[in-house]
Symmetry: C2
Subunit: 469 residues, 2 copies
Amino acid sequence: MASSSLVKIPATLSNLLQLHLRRTSDDADATNLRIPTAASALRSNTPSFSPKEDISSFFSEIHGHGDWSTLLNPLHPWLRREIVKYGELAQATYDAFDSNPFSEFCGSCLYGRRRLLRKLGLARSGYTVSKYIYAMSVVELPMWLERSLHADAWSTDSNWMGYVAVSDDAESRRIGCRDIVVAWRGTVSTTEWIEDIKAKLVLLNVGSNGDVKVENGFLSVYTSKSELTRYNKTSASEQVMPELRRLVSHYQQQGEQVCLTITGHSLGGALALLNAYEAASAMPDLPVSVISFGAPRVGNDMFVERLGEMKVKVLRVVVKQDLVPKLPGILFNENLKRFEIVDRMLEHVYMHAGIELGLNAKASPFLKQDGIHVAGFHHLETYLHLVDGFQSSEMEFRSRARRDVALVNKTSGMLREELQIPPSWSQLANKGMLRNSFGRWVKPTREAEDIPSPYREVAAPQAAQLGLS
Amino acid sequence: MASSSLVKIPATLSNLLQLHLRRTSDDADATNLRIPTAASALRSNTPSFSPKEDISSFFSEIHGHGDWSTLLNPLHPWLRREIVKYGELAQATYDAFDSNPFSEFCGSCLYGRRRLLRKLGLARSGYTVSKYIYAMSVVELPMWLERSLHADAWSTDSNWMGYVAVSDDAESRRIGCRDIVVAWRGTVSTTEWIEDIKAKLVLLNVGSNGDVKVENGFLSVYTSKSELTRYNKTSASEQVMPELRRLVSHYQQQGEQVCLTITGHSLGGALALLNAYEAASAMPDLPVSVISFGAPRVGNDMFVERLGEMKVKVLRVVVKQDLVPKLPGILFNENLKRFEIVDRMLEHVYMHAGIELGLNAKASPFLKQDGIHVAGFHHLETYLHLVDGFQSSEMEFRSRARRDVALVNKTSGMLREELQIPPSWSQLANKGMLRNSFGRWVKPTREAEDIPSPYREVAAPQAAQLGLS
């Protein structure tokens, strides 16, 4: 008989997880794993949500007023939950992205703005989406644009690139601020574009102490527009900025404390930084913070310096094994300062902004430890899992971590095989095909509410006020 | 900007199909395709079923009484529909097979016997499933056995290998016979096993004119059993034969005309032939026919001769571009006869049985014509598409073919890209994972009716009579 392909599971791990896995005779030899004895993250009947606590008195610390200096090591539980919250709002831009080239809506959001968060199981998030953002790029950026093969494609130039959302009354009370969020999407084919990127710094601003420069490709996605397109007659920047001004002014007029939190993963983290730079320049008194995940470097030393001067607070969540935050500038970066290189040279060198929250993939007993998983270490779901389990750089994975571990494998195969979660399990039934009443398999038409429309986005401010009031 | 990956579509094809595809400037140069002007197979509002006609007067011809000599070229429409009907009953063994190694039921049928055909949209077929067949193999047959990685697997030795079904009263009247069908499953990883097979003829029977020999691996799947297993304390042969005897005797006692039609694709076609051999030996007066698709050779010249003596009628549907029917014996086969090799040598040579219905993949304007698609040409859905479009060896693809073309891409990418049917679209939503009330993604438990049970199969005869009467 053919030899079976048994998975070898350490007996102790198996017992602890209460999984029913096949045993092999060499169980006894297997390594004991540092699995949390509670393993609540694995129990199917443990709520994956934590209770929401009133953190309003803590508002300015959570939003980086003190550069998170006393909150990161060990990681304060309130801050941990907020980081996961923003990360899930960023993850929504992936989960709702139509990347099927056979769809006429490839490159758009699968759902209309009003039901985006509900469709993704984020109804409890306490946020309401007020506007979608579309982007194009006149600079060639490898692999970033998803394009429909369909002749009647909704767009051939633009991609849905993120959204603006606002905290509702209850969430605003809980966190102590009317929180305006911008979530920027990264790219689906993450590793390809970042490895191929031809990093080139271009002038953003002439500063008093030196020129502010940022990476050409990132800036192009943020600022490109063309009259020939349907969704980018205005650039991403020109779409997001008026909406932010409108919302800030609306809530400030009502005497509310307003803050802006910009989040994004990978390329989305780079766009978040550019967006924060522009928003802080335009609205100097607004508290602006960025929570980015696996973001690359974006600009030079003067860019970072200006962000600091404008009090933009940047928390960069970085997995040690992820390559993307090492790019661009894997050779020439902020570490050069150690060698006392002439200051002028730094103008041409990429620098990271803000404070780093460093995570180690080896800390999680749920993740594969052997082999190299370049894409897997970069996935946002891997990041969120590691944030959820992080206590401090010296301590083990948090035994009371509750976030659903299965989510890690949504679009990767990073979970250890003995957990029996299928790799890359996120997929549509029959790739979206449905059997109609004539017995034929057809591609269904989208519901009207979910069909992208350039008009709808122009009309957003009016519509949004109804939704928010 | 990045150059777009446009699909180039001939303008005429695009017009004819009434598809909305993006045009390119070199459309004019593109080859005109012989697409059926009606193209009813593509219209989403054309029923994919043909009306059922009374073919009872034609019963013995349809079932091969005259070796289908006047029915194949051109192909008689009534015979075409019957071939497709049996092919779809064989396709059901693939569509309902659980091949997910993360499932504890990997290798079983996804559905209980009573609702198998309904679940697959074959409720109209006019057949009722009376028994499931399980098989194992004591001979190593590459890649054929699907095995669960789960510790509590339903079985680690056996696979669901097919089923016995009986035509209901209406269908029996329509076709002129109480039709007992056995449908045998092939392997999911089709090409691997057949290329790796170490073909070895073994003795099946000592005949008066010479020894009857068949391929060792196929025979092993048909006859292997072990007391240590749950589902193969009896072999596939020992499961199917008593059920056939029971059904034949049951309906003959009621004075009905009974026939046996055995179908299968690939390895399933080989098992169909072994099953037909055994059934014809055991019940000499029963009309036995085999409709196989893409089946390999099974035995030597005496095996073929004995089948003929027992009046087993074999219709082998073969796609010219498919490699599997050329195996085993790609060098030494029935063509040797042309060279007047000494008779004794034929005992060691593989021979095809019965009549061939030859199909040419190039005849279909819907299929990819460039490149080599070894697996795609072998898929049963490709076969059924080509049967549906076949008129004669000289004529073009049938313009009134109605079978849903999208089915071809169920598990392959054989359809031309401009048809915009996603390749291999048959998949479960989220690989079967569901979000439970605690917000966690879990593998759902099977409904009780769909959980395999060795007891249920032993008890089948009693249960089946209730279902059939």
